[in-house]
């Protein structure tokens, strides 16, 4: 083995590796616990001492997606045999499925609002960032500061005015209203982050494209955008994470048609006692889209976060 000064010894590698794995395990425990709880039966989920080895059950997921009614044992006996595994699980608790729950709908709302506002923030943010980066705009610095200043106030401070305004405009509890609101919050982040990324792209690329016979917009679209992909991807992740997780505005401004998953999940607790497996199932499913999106873009994200730190 070589002994250059940068080579770690086996011992050092072992120690470092152990520490990293230990830290990762500690941070993963709550997630793992949620994931496991989702597959427990309600009694297992609250048993003491907590069960690590248990018989997995889909009861949490069934409860998450259905509403159920309790029936008497006599009535239960009269019913035809269960048509599927879900009915079987429910009948074991002396209940029948009354209909689907609202979770699917709320989840879809989250997806529409989360991705919609992310798309809009990125679309507008990229155009604005490009303009700020490349053109001489009167009062550009003041405008940029003004854009940033929208983020200085805690969102909850403006919640009541927005609530009143939305009621007047008919935007309360609508998808459009929530998309606009999250876009408004995210756009300052998007403009600032993207401006930094676009500033790093040499102007010569666009100038070369202009010389090569393309218009300014074509140069932006064909040359700048591919270069900014890294920045756009990481900005999109930040925007999506915010819009996806946002709770305060969602509780205040949505109740029915446009309610997102975050304010909905806690309401599961109220239906028929503390149904921890259903809550855990909801949380698990809720984690998935952002996780998938982040994993899909992770190469860009890592490059994006360290972008500009090292001179190429």
């Amino acid at each position: 083995m070589s002994h250059s000064i940068t080579d770690a010894t086996l011992r050092q590698k072992t120690i470092a590796g152990t520490l990293v794995i230990l830290y990762a395990s500690i941070t993963m425990v709550p997630l793992l616990w949620i994931f496991m709880t989702g597959f427990k039966t309600p009694p297992d989920s609250i048993s003491y001492p907590p069960k690590i080895v248990y018989q997995p059950s889909l009861e949490g997921y069934v409860n998450l997606f259905t509403t159920r009614t309790r029936v008497s044992p006599e009535k239960l006996a009269e019913l035809p045999p269960p048509k599927n595994f879900a009915e079987e699980i429910v009948r074991n608790r002396e209940m029948v499925i009354a209909g689907p729950s609202k979770f699917g709908e709320r989840f879809l709302n989250s997806i529409i609002i989360g991705f919609g506002s992310t798309f809009l923030s990125i679309f507008l943010g990229t155009l604005a960032a490009y303009a700020f980066s490349r053109f001489s705009i009167p009062l550009a610095d003041d405008l940029l500061f003004f854009i940033l200043s929208t983020r200085m106030m805690p969102p909850i401070a403006v919640a009541i005015p927005i609530f009143l305004m939305y009621r007047q405009l008919g935007l309360s509890d609508t998808h459009l209203g929530m998309i606009l609101l999250y876009t408004a919050v995210n756009i300052s982040l998007a403009v600032w982050l993207l401006k930094g990324f676009i500033d790093e792209i040499p102007r010569e690329y666009e100038e070369a494209a202009l010389i090569d016979g393309y218009t300014r917009f074509q140069a932006f679209y064909k040359v700048v955008l591919p270069q900014a992909a890294t920045g756009i991807a990481s900005t999109a992740i930040f925007c999506l994470i915010f819009a996806w997780n946002e709770y305060a505005f969602a509780v205040l401004l949505t109740s029915g048609t446009a309610q997102t998953a975050p304010p909905f999940i806690p309401t599961i607790i109220g239906v028929g006692g503390l149904d921890w497996p259903a809550v855990a199932a909801g949380a698990t499913l809720f984690l998935l889209p952002v996780m998938i999106f982040t994993v899909m873009l992770r190469k860009h994200l890592l490059r994006g976060i360290t972008f500009g730190a090292v001179r190429k």
């Binding site: 010569e204 690329y205 202009l210 010389i211 270069q227």
Partner: protein
């Protein structure tokens, strides 16, 4: 291909003037150098010709057509950037073919054209490589390929050799010049390197502080500098400057420097204020009887010639003499100036005084 006429071109960025009322003509097929120190406005001039900057005033004619307000895509001018500016997300083939794609050329024609250009530049074997892994020289060739592939009316080159290492510069300079001679296209080339300009250019414009100082062939610029700046900027070591006693009258053919009489070309112009005498190091010979006398302070041996630094009665002087001539430090020698090569400059204006050497000429 194309003649480019620059008329009173100027460019201001807010309060800063980058280019001041410049005029010159680039003839068809010329290899034309824009030379000057950094920040003198040469790159801005080039960018205005290419359409990357809109002039604040003045006109640019390409083949008789006024183009100063047209977008770059409508000028049919190619540009080679100092940092090459190859599209990093495309491979070599696509980089070279990019200008053709914008013209809507058919794929098959495009492929043929790209191959033709690649052959000229000797880069057929790297056509499918990504540009990120290429050496400096190959990047340069790809950038040139992208420029020549569409047969533009003229080429603009912004210090294209600036990013290459010294060894490679020499070779690329030759390649560039050969390529130009083969294509016969009008080329405008920006550089701050006077050697590069002298070596490659048919004509040179020397710029300083946003103005054109002189415009001419390398020989004219070197032998008949129009201003103190040009005299100083061109040539290595640069011209020797000595303060002349008193004023200059028309017809005069002798001046005195610190009391020493020196013959100069017959003057066609008088000058009231301070006057500076300029002589190139190679126009000084050693001769025991001659005046002024000087002491040898340092010797730089350069192979075929040697540069001798002297402390004379007239001031500090550098002379370039044959290296076969034996000189020793501390030795006293007499200096003989080749009088027909001497230029006199007005210290107030920085301009040369008209004389037998500097005929009554030139205004752009």
């Amino acid at each position: 291909m194309a003649e480019i006429v620059i008329e009173n071109l100027c460019k201001r960025f807010g309060a800063f003037t980058a280019v001041k009322e410049s005029s010159f003509t680039i003839e068809d097929g010329e290899f034309f150098m824009l030379l000057g120190p950094s920040g003198c406005g040469k790159t801005t001039t080039l960018r205005m010709i290419a359409g990357l900057e809109i002039p604040s005033g003045g006109k640019i004619y390409l083949d008789g057509e006024e183009i100063s307000r047209r977008p770059p895509s409508q000028r049919d001018i190619a540009f080679v950037f100092q940092m090459f500016a190859l599209y990093p997300h495309l491979n070599v083939r696509k980089n070279i073919g990019y200008p053709l794609a914008s013209q809507g050329m058919k794929r098959r024609e495009r492929t043929a054209k790209i191959l033709e250009v690649a052959k000229i530049l000797g880069i057929e074997d790297i056509l499918d490589h990504p540009v990120s892994g290429l050496s400096g020289g190959d990047r340069q060739r790809v950038a040139l390929g992208r420029a020549i592939v569409r047969n533009p009316k003229a080429f603009m080159m912004d210090e294209p050799l600036g990013a290459l290492d010294a060894e490679f510069r020499e070779r690329m300079a030759l390649e560039l010049r050969a390529l130009h001679d083969r294509m016969g296209a009008t080329t405008v080339y920006v550089t701050h390197d006077q050697l590069e300009a002298m070596q490659m250019g048919d004509k040179i414009v020397v710029m300083n502080n946003a103005v054109v100082e002189q415009f001419g062939t390398p020989k004219e610029i070197y032998e008949k500098p129009e201003s103190l700046f040009v005299a100083d900027f061109i040539g290595s070591p640069s011209m020797n400057f000595l303060d002349v006693d008193g004023a200059i009258a028309e017809g005069q053919s002798q001046v005195s420097v610190k009391g020493i009489p020196i013959a100069v070309p017959q003057q066609h112009e008088s000058a009231a204020g301070d006057v500076i005498l300029g002589i190139r190091p190679e126009h000084i010979r050693f001769s025991d009887r001659a005046n002024p006398s000087a002491r040898v302070c340092a010797i730089e041996y350069l192979g075929t010639t040697q540069v001798i630094t002297l402390q004379s009665d007239a001031g500090s002087i550098k002379a370039r003499v044959d290296s076969s001539q034996s000189v020793e430090i501390g030795e006293r020698v007499g200096l003989e100036f080749e009088s027909c090569r001497i230029s006199l400059f007005s210290s107030a204006t920085g301009k040369v005084l008209r004389s037998a050497l500097h005929g009554r000429t030139q205004d752009g």
